[in-house]
């Protein structure tokens, strides 16, 4: 029986067309995944269903939940339905909870707002039951906890508890695991699946992650630029994709590149028994301040011409390690030598060492000074050279770097806001390449990109490996990406390297239990026979 049906929904906000003629339906107990890249309108479809659209939104078409046409109801009636008939879970668990209210009060609020007769104590009892149901038992997570005392995954459980406290018929989850680590993601997805089944609840999943989609959805809806390009039962759609965009999306998600063979081993960077401690804020007025060991006795070597991967979940110490490798922070033990010289030399950086190393960051929007033009942005590393090129030589270097990453010399005079996310990552790579470093660090360099753009950047990397004999350390939480662009991989957990080996071996025969958990937790894209 159809629970939710969206019929010919079109949406515009201040004259901008957001959705166009969207039609889809969900049955009770069914999981429907809406997927697509950024700007596809998938989140707006979810918000339209909740009727929580921003001001200035104008919709046509119908949204019917059960026997009620949501699009025709007034705000007061909608308030009685939200949280009661339909619940919603959002992407960012860190900010989705009110920081100054206890989790118990926030869950109980859903119950009390819809049933004025219930007493405060009863509402809290039911909140406790609901929290236990989502995996937050009272003995470890009492109602009086505040959101900041919980981890991201635990907070997302609280948000889910608020959404399902009244056992709504429809649950909408908007990228519910995008902000979470892979192992946490697996747990939250299992929880959502279990709840949908137990309560015979329709689940509308919004996600960009096709592996997640294929893993849990009964039906898939693929969107692009506000339109549905294809939808169907999961197994059927995976086997018989009709629309080229769907095919491209799935191909890009599992994109593999061919790296040229690495040269014979010759050590470039040696990391030996590195320890990095952070001072914690004082916990008592008189006691010594505590410290936190972010990197704990880490040793490895990067060979010249090698593509090394470093995987781990958030908080495992990989960002701290990156900053130490770059020589930006002092380590408390061990040594980091690049080509035989220490990378950290106190407050006055040793430019001779620094110029052998460059970095590409994650955020395509935050890694450039918005007030400088591209030529100035990508020549910033020239500061490291004793005799930086000027005049025609400088222009030649800029042109060459831009061409190498697939841009044109004309782009040199533009500002960064004129480029898309993928183009910005190309510029970041150009900035890293321009002084021909021996080693490049890629710090989550493709994590913020849409899958199709990500595939292009990975291709560019493979191409540059051939043209420039790159040596790089590829730091990422994304196992599928690391698997394709590295020769060897390090697995990091709680500041330690727990496993190290050839990428192929580690992924096929993981030895350490943590590596196994990590690989098991990662949702796998089914082999759909699309030519790679």
């Amino acid at each position: 029986m159809t629970l939710l049906s969206i019929e010919n929904l079109s949406l515009s906000i201040h004259q901008f067309d957001i959705l166009h003629d969207v039609t889809l339906s969900i049955a009770a107990g069914e999981i429907v995944a809406v997927t697509g890249e950024s700007g596809s309108g998938k989140s707006m479809t979810a918000l339209a269903t909740m009727q929580l659209l921003p001001k200035g939104a104008h919709t046509t078409g119908r949204i019917v939940l059960g026997d009620r046409e949501i699009t025709a109801l007034d705000e007061t009636t909608l308030c009685t339905m939200r949280g009661n008939d339909m619940g919603m879970v959002f992407q960012e668990p860190m900010t989705a909870l009110n920081p100054v209210q206890t989790i118990g009060a926030q869950v109980a609020e859903t119950i009390r707002i819809h049933d004025r007769t219930i007493t405060r104590a009863e509402a809290f009892d039911r909140a406790a039951e609901t929290l236990t149901r989502v995996g937050l038992p009272q003995d470890r997570f009492p109602l009086g906890r505040y959101p900041h005392e919980l981890s991201g995954g635990q907070r997302q459980r609280v948000v889910i508890a608020m959404a399902i406290a009244l056992q709504p018929r429809l649950l909408i989850a908007d990228e519910p695991t995008t902000a979470l680590d892979v192992t946490t993601q697996a747990q939250i997805l299992d929880l959502l699946k279990r709840l949908a089944k137990e309560d015979d609840m329709g689940l509308l999943m919004i996600t960009h992650d096709l592996a997640v989609v294929a893993d849990m959805a009964d039906r898939i809806v693929v969107m692009r630029n506000g339109k549905i390009v294809e939808q169907g039962e999961t197994g059927h759609l995976l086997r018989h994709m009709r629309h080229p965009y769907t095919k491209m999306l799935f191909e890009a998600s599992g994109h593999r590149v061919n790296l040229p063979a690495a040269p014979a081993p010759a050590p470039l960077m040696r990391v030996e028994r590195v320890i990095r401690d952070y001072r914690l804020p004082r916990t008592s007025v008189f006691g010594a301040p505590g410290s936190f060991r972010a990197v704990d006795d880490v040793s490895f070597t990067i060979q010249r011409g090698e593509r090394l991967g470093l995987v781990g979940e958030s908080g495992c110490g990989k960002s701290t390690l990156t900053r130490a490798l770059l020589g930006l922070e002092q380590v408390q033990g061990g040594s980091i030598m690049l080509d035989g010289e220490p990378v950290f030399t106190g407050t006055r950086p040793n430019l001779a060492v620094r110029r052998k190393m460059q970095v590409v960051f994650q955020d395509p929007f935050g890694s450039f000074n918005p007030r400088h033009r591209v030529d100035r942005l990508i020549t910033e590393p020239f500061h490291l050279l004793p005799d930086p090129p000027s005049g025609a030589a400088r222009t030649r270097a800029i042109d060459e770097a831009l061409l190498a990453v697939g841009l044109t010399p004309r782009d040199a005079t533009k500002y960064i806001h004129e480029f898309s996310g993928g183009q910005r990552q190309r510029i970041a790579i150009a900035r890293a390449l321009i002084i021909r470093p021996d080693l490049i660090l890629f710090d989550e360099a493709v994590s913020a990109l849409d899958v199709s753009v990500r595939a292009q950047i990975l291709d560019l990397l493979a191409e540059l490996c051939g043209a420039y004999d790159l040596t790089y350390l590829f730091i990422s939480h994304d196992l599928s990406v690391v698997r394709t662009v590295t020769d060897r991989v390090l697995v990091m957990k709680s500041g330690k390297i727990v496993e190290e080996g050839l990428t192929k071996d580690v992924f096929e025969r993981p030895q350490h239990p943590y590596t196994k958990t990590l690989i098991d937790a990662a949702p796998i894209l089914p082999d759909i026979g699309v030519p790679a």
């Binding site: 909740m50 959002f90 804020p281």
Partner: protein
């Protein structure tokens, strides 16, 4: 929470210590010897020396600093050079005018600003919002002492609802005293209320854009319920900061406003003392003003922790 309080208390004491050194040092630079100023040009050296030792001026500066500060801790602020009476007595009388005035103004300002700010935020972009924002824009631009003169002109001289100035004292009864302070308090409060209303509005609007407000709406709260239950308490955090800062403006403002209404408060005392070069009084009043500002900010820090659980558990 205890640790947080202790840490704030430590910072309060440190600020007071530094402030007292600064004030003492500044007054020490002031030219002229109070004793010779009091006795005039033709004083005998012996009388001068006697007076100097009576005033405690014949010891080293360091000793004098500690005598001054330790005296203040026990309520002994020294003796006025001009009136030869204990400074504490002079201050106590004046404080009973200035402090109630500042508090009265703070209450008015909050009572006006909170509803205005909340109303404007909840009707963003509508006529009510635009009207209130226009009024606050004007309120911020009006000098409080000029506003005070206009109030006197309208409500005291023309309508005769209030006295044009002076203070009958609390002995005449609480309500009469309050009545006498009403015009000054309004004059003092309104420009501050305008600022506070603006801060309240923008802080609420910031909170309205937060993710958890959307979560609240998804639970089934109406936008008004979400505003009251989740928005207000979060919006209060920056507003508290401004209230703390405003107290120092209210105190400073009350010194000026006392001039308009001829109120016998700390402001009058300070100006009289400056012209009489009664520096020990100036020194003590300034220290007292600075003390109250630091104290209020300490209380605001504690209020923060009451509002925001994240502060309680940290440090």
């Amino acid at each position: 929470m205890l640790r947080y309080t202790l840490k704030r208390l430590f910072s309060l004491i440190l600020s007071l210590a530094v402030a007292s050194v600064v004030i003492f040092a500044v007054i020490e630079i002031a030219p002229g010897d109070p004793a010779s100023f009091m006795l005039g040009m033709n004083a005998q050296p012996e009388t001068l020396a006697a007076l100097r030792s009576e005033l405690g001026l014949d010891v080293s500066k360091v000793e004098r600093y500690f005598a001054w500060t330790s005296g203040m801790l026990t309520g002994d602020f020294g003796t006025s050079y001009t009136y030869r009476t204990p400074v504490i007595d002079m201050i106590r009388d004046r404080l009973w005018v200035s402090l109630p005035l500042a508090l009265y103004a703070l209450v008015i300002s909050t009572l006006v600003a909170f509803p205005a700010g909340i109303y404007a935020a909840s009707r963003r972009g509508q006529a009510g919002d635009i009207g209130i924002m226009g009024a606050t824009q004007l309120g911020v631009a009006v000098p409080n002492f000029w506003f005070a003169m206009m109030l006197v002109l309208i409500f005291a001289i023309n309508l005769r609802w209030f006295a044009a100035g002076g203070f009958i004292g609390w002995d005449a009864g609480f309500w009469k005293g309050l009545h006498a302070l009403t015009l000054p308090a309004i004059a003092l409060a309104l420009p501050q209320a305008a600022i506070l209303a603006r801060v309240m509005r923008s802080s609420l609007l910031d909170v309205l854009g937060e993710d958890f407000m959307r979560t609240a709406r998804a639970k089934g709260l109406s936008s008004r319920q979400a505003l009251w239950r989740h928005g207000l308490r979060n919006a209060l955090i920056p507003v508290l900061t401004i209230i703390g800062l405003q107290f120092s403006f209210l105190l400073a403002g009350s010194i000026i406003i006392e001039q308009v209404f001829y109120l016998p408060g700390l402001g009058r005392l300070v100006f009289q003392s400056i012209s009489a070069r009664d520096l020990i009084v100036v020194e003590s009043v300034v220290m007292l003003l600075v003390f109250s500002v630091i104290l209020v900010n300490f209380l605001v820090d504690l209020a923060y922790a009451a509002v925001d659980p994240r502060l309680r558990s940290r440090t």
